[in-house]
Symmetry: D2
């Protein structure tokens, strides 16, 4: 089969012919119908410091967001059949560690990540463990189906725990309107948020934030120091109830705490890449703030929430607008250039080889 392979410990990737993999007893073989690019893929493509340290296995097929069709099932697989449409949960878990045994598989102590620790999905076929193959509505657009992992990140950021105050009637701040931030805006509106405020500097994403339903989109560079006051004025002077940091920028990290109402909650998703300074007393303690670090998405509570939201036509239509470009998988280099430009939100990869 054809696949995009990281052949050497350095930038780039090559389209090469490799053997089609064989599923083990607990796995399924999937023909890839669409895939999409996550920030992790960009890091591996560029081979930055994170990739150099994190990625062990080279050569490796990378990529992990996909939708496809099951073409072969291992002999112990019971819940899936040939012909099923599936997407992948990327976190391959051991099922027996403390986290797995306490309802927190997504932070398995021995997690392996598809396309990072083992061969991924930028290929004609991919192998998935039964548990990681999520069955889709066959009528769902494959490009949207392949985006369920970042959509899950967005949902998980807004609803990180099993039992946590809902979003209904709340004010929500999303700092950073990259693909996950944009999805989070759409999700928050679908959960009955009273008002969603987003921040973004990129013009394309700024406009998309409005299309996702943000009631107020702010450019933090233009707003400067008055941004906290602007947000307070837009929230009855109270500050936001829920804030999701999705920019990975220190100013976004500072803003989610500054703009929070006392007792509000913050979800941190954007990686900051370096130690950051915070005034713990005023940001966290005096404010009785609640903070959730967001990693992956719940397996599989979040996936059911995503499935439910995608069953709503208006929600699907919004999500589709985030796909600004569609590129055949073998042209991954061009797709990476698009992401580097300021023109793209989500780039979908088509299975045209």
């Amino acid at each position: 089969m054809q696949a995009v392979v990281k052949a050497h410990r350095g930038p780039g990737g090559e389209v090469v012919t490799v053997p089609t993999p064989t599923p083990s007893d607990d796995e399924v073989l999937v023909r890839v119908r669409a895939s999409s690019i996550c920030g992790t893929d960009v890091h591996i493509w560029k081979w930055n410091a994170w990739a150099e340290e994190r990625v062990r296995k080279v050569p490796m097929i990378f990529g992990h967001e996909l939708s496809g069709e099951v073409v072969e099932v291992g002999k112990r697989v019971r819940s899936l059949a040939v012909g099923d449409h599936v997407s992948a949960e990327t976190h391959i878990v051991d099922g027996t560690c403390y986290q797995c045994k306490t309802g927190r598989m997504h932070i398995c102590a021995n997690v392996q990540v598809l396309g990072v620790d083992r061969d991924g999905v930028f290929a004609e076929y991919a192998v998935l463990p039964e548990l990681n193959a999520w069955k889709n509505d066959p009528k769902l657009d494959p490009a949207i189906a392949s985006m369920q992992e970042p959509l899950g990140n967005a949902v998980h950021s807004l609803l990180p725990e099993d039992n946590l105050e809902d979003i209904a009637g709340k004010t929500v701040l999303i700092t950073g309107a990259g693909p996950i931030g944009l999805l989070a805006i759409a999700v928050a509106k679908s959960l009955g948020a009273e008002k969603v405020i987003a921040t973004e500097v990129n013009r394309v994403r700024f406009d998309l934030a409005r299309k996702m339903g943000a009631d107020l989109v702010l450019n933090p560079v233009e707003e400067g120091d008055r941004i906290v006051r602007t947000i307070r004025d837009a929230t009855y002077g109270r500050g936001v109830d829920v804030a999701c940091e999705m920019s990975g920028h220190p100013s976004g990290f500072a803003l989610v705490f500054d703009a929070l109402t006392p007792g509000g909650r913050v979800s941190l998703l954007g990686l900051l890449d370096r130690p950051t300074t915070i005034d713990v007393d005023s940001a966290l303690i005096f404010k009785a703030a609640r903070v959730h670090g967001i990693f992956g998405r719940r397996m599989f509570e979040t996936w059911f929430q995503v499935k439910g939201l995608l069953a709503i036509p208006a929600f699907r239509e919004k999500v589709a607008q985030i796909i600004t470009h569609r590129v055949p998988i073998p042209e991954l280099a061009r797709a990476m250039d698009l992401i580097d430009s300021t023109q793209a939100a989500k780039v979908s990869l088509e299975a045209r080889w």
Copy 2:
């Protein structure tokens, strides 16, 4: 001022002239702009067994759902001013009992109910304690503003506790599409429910259930025994995640448990009026069901949720459709006849004297 008064311990009510009340130091005086009829008012009007036992104070102005404008404030009132638009939370609490001191004011051990234990709002003016006067957006339609209590019942049925799994992506059953059931359908859809199933026999309400966004509306008489199977088929064979009993009918009470997925949750709002038989083992224990009795709405977490939802134009428009009739307050007898007919959902009362 003019007011509708229950003058004798028996059916009906009279429009009479009474002194305009004077607010105490902790109260405000409100000029009524609109009000609406709750089931409790019907009981008092008809003077059924419940009313005979529950109502002590006669003569009494009854009615409790209102919107109005503050025209006078007591001298200790700090959070309200003349000119503010307000609605009423009906539960007047002591603030010092066990329930009040543990975040459960809505089930105050010494609650007094407006229009039941003290003079209510079917009048030109009404007096409200500061805490019970909820400030509205002045642009909100008074007819809708006066419906925030039943809307709060609907929201509280779906989100009964502080931290409880949300509705996003869940399947929801509402048995009984009276005014609160209809509102619950609209609310569930606004909270991101994947699918809302409603049951109703009355044709007017059946049609309104669809307009509220129910994905499936079933007539339990027509469905008969196959209704559980129909609901299972509509929920991937699993049964519903959340069920709200709003019919007050034994068949609805049975159905919410029969149609529930194991581990799902049930909210009980509709009063059954008599002891009812249930197979506790199969309905509750083997199913690991979770049940919430619903009384009032949270003070004031639910009100903030209601305010947030009413800030969404599409939601407001839905709620407006539930008002099938508008009648001047002095014509309360006619309004009661409309409710007895099979033609009405919510009857709004206009302040035309």
Copy 3:
């Protein structure tokens, strides 16, 4: 090996020689060191109506509470090794149904129960799926280790959901001081309950209830109608915060609601065996009661809680007192007679063949 086998669809059981089972790739073989008798075993022994309907497989080794030592592991087993001390979680789950995929394995839609649907543990050896073999501290008394399932029932009754108000400083009612009720008393005290009230008619269990730490033990027959008032008087006039129904008796079922403070919560564990009448309005709705049906125990959040509690010496000592009799497994008939008498609480079975 020797085993106690239900050979015919009727009362009793026989000690016979059967082949020692062989673990499959995902299973372990365990040498039984101790086991104990659950109510389910009594039903199967007596072959009551429930057993006739529920049990399909005969002949079958029954029993499910055990502790033992791993003597062989399947080739895919990673988290256990020969020599490990283990107990069994009885619910064998499919891992892929809706409940399993949403953190509710204990109510798996396709659950198989050890000793009910497949061979159990009243034998020299037993086979367990890796996931169901819970690793014990090797220093834990095997008799206590074998009681972790009912201990888990007790913990799960008090803490049924992931995030639910804790027991600290709360008043707790336990109706019925059978083995699980007794354990629930000990657990509630270990969780910081302010006051634990228990009800029981049997004298042996009544006395044990005190030893478990109950602050007040009431005989419901002697108390009669004044029992609700007695409980209110013992709880500042408020009623209890948490009530666990563990008697399986209609009077216990009625009492947990009557004695509850408004907004309190009820866990229902005791099976009632027949439809029961309840005044839904007063018991559930006006009281804003919250009810949890209790089935099994959470896999494996509850097991970790049990492990943690058993690490506390004072708690272990209390649990040990519940074992009123120790009988060799082959003398199961005598053990069943003891349970029928009014003299026993928990009967432990020793692996002496």
Copy 4:
């Protein structure tokens, strides 16, 4: 009456004669029976930068932890009577702000603090709003009764939200064994924690930590870099489930995250006084950590938990051990010296004038 007054904006305080205050309609007058010293009092005594900035009202009676007897009640007070024994919740709230109306009075947007914003309790008599006067069991030792605020801080740190996973069977780390840290150890053990690990450098407090029931007490200076490994080794290699930062030291702040199991939770109570650096990615995001800023204690859920725990004799006895010194209130200067020494844990103040 006699009182300790901060007469000038500078260090120290004076015992002077001032008029006995008169309660307003909503207040009670309390004769002080015992009081105790909080860190806030030390700041005000020493008049550090925080005090210079925060304290507006001088001259002012300071102090806020007390127990006493009601000697006069305002005419609107219903829940208290002359002769009642009470302690004070220090946070005087407005009751109408967003936080107060959503069950979060303890972080009232307009809070006034006793002994900081208005006259406090280091006096013969003090005035308290009805809502802030917490009724005690009259048999409770006044010295212990006056410590319920810090005890509430400890409980609130362990159980910060209404519905949050309990402590039962969990491993808990407490960094810093000052008075609140010591109380937190005792509380955690009373809530069924499997293992409580504490850190402390001061020898007196180190020994008290053991007496409170800590299973492991570590001196972070002696342990140095290996402390994280030591804690992991003591928690099955997993890290702690719950960590409470009570040292106010950057090394404690770092440790609570380093020692946390993925998905665990952290409560931050100790003020750090300056911006602090944290590696957000590894400490919070990859670890899916949950963080609660702790301010005050819940009004009055936490107080009921405290009351319940204090009803347990063994718990009361532990708490009593934390009182290392008893000093008459007029000798406050000596009490402050004791706190500055390394010899004291909690200093109780006796009402001997």
